[in-house]
Symmetry: C2
Subunit: 382 residues, 2 copies
């Protein structure tokens, strides 16, 4: 039965404490009231934002959404921009409080079922938060890593791309990567800032350009800088889950490898071809199309060919990449524009999994749930 | 025999007149001398640039490169940043002069062979230039379109992403798109600016981030803004060739479609699902990996499913997308770091084509040359 569970690894919450914090603010990120409707304004250069309501903070609404879409388990994470806008001491105390809140949100929630052969499986697990802001002490961050590692229902942490202000290729993060690796926590890497908004031009295209392009560009840049910094050579057991199927890193990975090979500054820096490191990643299946998912699976499957000394001619099988891909919804974002029984965005992502050419029924089941159970060690006997 | 020709559609030149212009400048873009070595400095925020020599301007060097790699025909284009840095009157006169220079570069060059059943086929054809700079008159640009259309060996034009200063989604370009469509010229859309360099962080990674990521991000953004502006609805016969296999547009196209569907500002603007418009594009095969090319072919093949009113369930065959993909080298960029018989970057792109799963031998021949002969109507009887 466990192999048929539907597990959502990309689903967000603004915990009540966090929503209150956003309501108290007068600059972005903030929640404002406009004509009796609360609106969330979080993106750089955003003006009126988007309507928000109970879907964003109420656990009952999350469970209703899960029920409606047949989702058994959600691994919930605070949505962007996390704690990026706080001072070091505010970020530190808020991280610890929100991690406690999220542990309680999960632990006091329902169980999946008493009838599985699994140990007790909850319906809600969480990604905690680290106080990653400029000028915070390493000790403060490590305290939060330790707290998360000790919280039974927190299975990892969500992280933006700014690190301590200089990005994720900053060596100052090495003790933090080391502690995360040691604690076997999964890092969920998620975008927020996109790219400079001058790229989007003057036309009003709503949120399309920052969301459809900016978000994936940011994730791609962060992951590429991580690869170039040698983090995966130094911390080979680090488990990173990239949002939105890795942004555009899969499509650019051979170009990246070629650019590295042709640039004297970096040509000999890394242990392996850049494409090897993609095989160390986990990617959510939030790409809205089956051709996209099939390609991502190809790129994960081929990674072993690019280990130093491997035979690059070896043919690879798409199916082999599916065990690092995991269903997600991006709830409560991407709500339908008009009322529907099921959210179109969720149906699209489920259909995409079902229709990947070259994936077996078992592969699809694994992407829908089994891979998440393994990655997060959910429901296994203590 | 024509079906076995190797045709390079992505290959650049700095014509002698253009190289002289760059040598005369004291700000980027420029060619400087450093220790008796000329260096090209063209990227925003670039300092020392890269070494340049005869490969960049000498036609004999282009032909030697072609001979060494078995390339029968090259469709040559001026490299970035074209005329972007000139005043309107300078851009106008320089475009006309460079178009004449390029026509002569091609027309006075060698023929492929006397033994084919084609009409005379030259080894060199060209993409001309338009004086697309802020505040230029539409008439000046249309004059260059007309010049190119009348030049027997110029088969299209290369274009950056800034248009008249506001990007390619500017309605002021409509008369120009119309004239290009009418003249059946191919627009080769090529990046130069990337994204704001703050995205790359503080580490020295050579040119890797702006080239591997920034270039494709820029192309993706420009093509997406074109789609959103409705240009392909207004000019359905416009033929656009995107550099670097479309950047990241293929991997983001389903996300783009979903973001459009979920955004009240744009949800009802376009005639078709965003993925439909990818099927109107031509993409070079400069992606350095066979999985990438196969995926791009999938995305082109599926486009018809997304025409309004089409049955989206119809299965598509990868092979069907190959007829809009065309071999390229990006010469003289991506030179090998140490001397080799053949350039690694060229071998990678040829191997990638050869190894695409699901492409027939005929598909591969077409991508290597046949598609270019058709697109540019090369060698056909007058």
């Amino acid at each position: 039965m466990a192999s048929k569970l539907l597990v959502d690894v990309h689903t967000h919450v603004y915990l009540p404490r966090y929503a209150s914090l956003l309501r108290s603010r007068s600059s972005v990120p903030k929640i404002v009231s406009l004509n009796n409707q609360e609106r969330l304004v979080i993106l750089p250069n955003e003006t009126t934002g988007r309507p928000v309501g109970a879907q964003y903070w109420d656990r009952d609404e999350k469970l209703k959404f899960m029920d409606r879409h047949g989702i058994d388990v959600s691994v919930v994470s605070t949505a962007n921009p996390w704690l990026d806008f706080l001072t070091p001491s505010e970020a530190h105390s808020t991280a610890l409080e929100l991690n406690n809140d999220l542990e309680e949100y999960c632990s006091t929630g329902p169980n999946v079922s008493q009838t599985t052969n699994l140990d007790v499986l909850k319906r809600l697990y969480g990604f905690g938060l680290l106080p990653l802001v400029p000028e915070i002490s390493t000790e403060s961050v490590l305290e939060a890593v330790k707290q998360i590692a000790g919280a039974p229902h927190l299975k990892g942490l969500i992280m933006g791309t700014r690190g301590l202000g200089k990005g994720l290729d900053d060596e100052a993060l090495d003790p933090i990567w080391s502690a995360i690796e040691e604690a076997e926590l999964v890092v969920f890497l998620h975008p927020h800032y996109g790219v400079d908004s001058s790229a989007w031009g003057e036309k009003d295209n709503g949120h399309v350009l920052p969301l459809a392009l900016g978000f994936p560009f940011e994730t791609t840049t962060a992951a590429t800088r991580l690869i170039l910094s040698g983090v995966f050579d130094r911390f080979p057991r680090l488990r990173l889950l990239l949002a939105h199927s890795g942004g555009t890193l899969p499509q650019l990975s051979s170009r990246l490898a070629s650019c590295i090979d042709h640039d004297p500054v970096v040509a000999t820096r890394l242990k392996h071809d850049a494409r090897y490191y993609l095989g160390k990643l986990y990617l959510d299946a939030v790409a809205y199309g089956s051709e996209e998912l099939g390609f991502v699976s190809d790129v994960l499957a081929r990674a072993g060919r690019y280990e130093k000394g491997a035979h690059q001619e070896t043919a690879t099988v798409r199916s082999a990449g599916s065990d690092r891909m995991l269903f997600g919804t991006d709830h409560p974002f991407f709500p339908p524009l008009s009322a529907t029984e099921k959210w179109r965005s969720v149906v699209e992502n489920l259909d995409a999994i079902e229709n990947v050419q070259g994936w077996s029924a078992a592969d699809k089941d694994a992407v829908r749930g089994g891979n998440a159970l393994s990655l997060f060690k959910l429901g296994s006997k203590a």
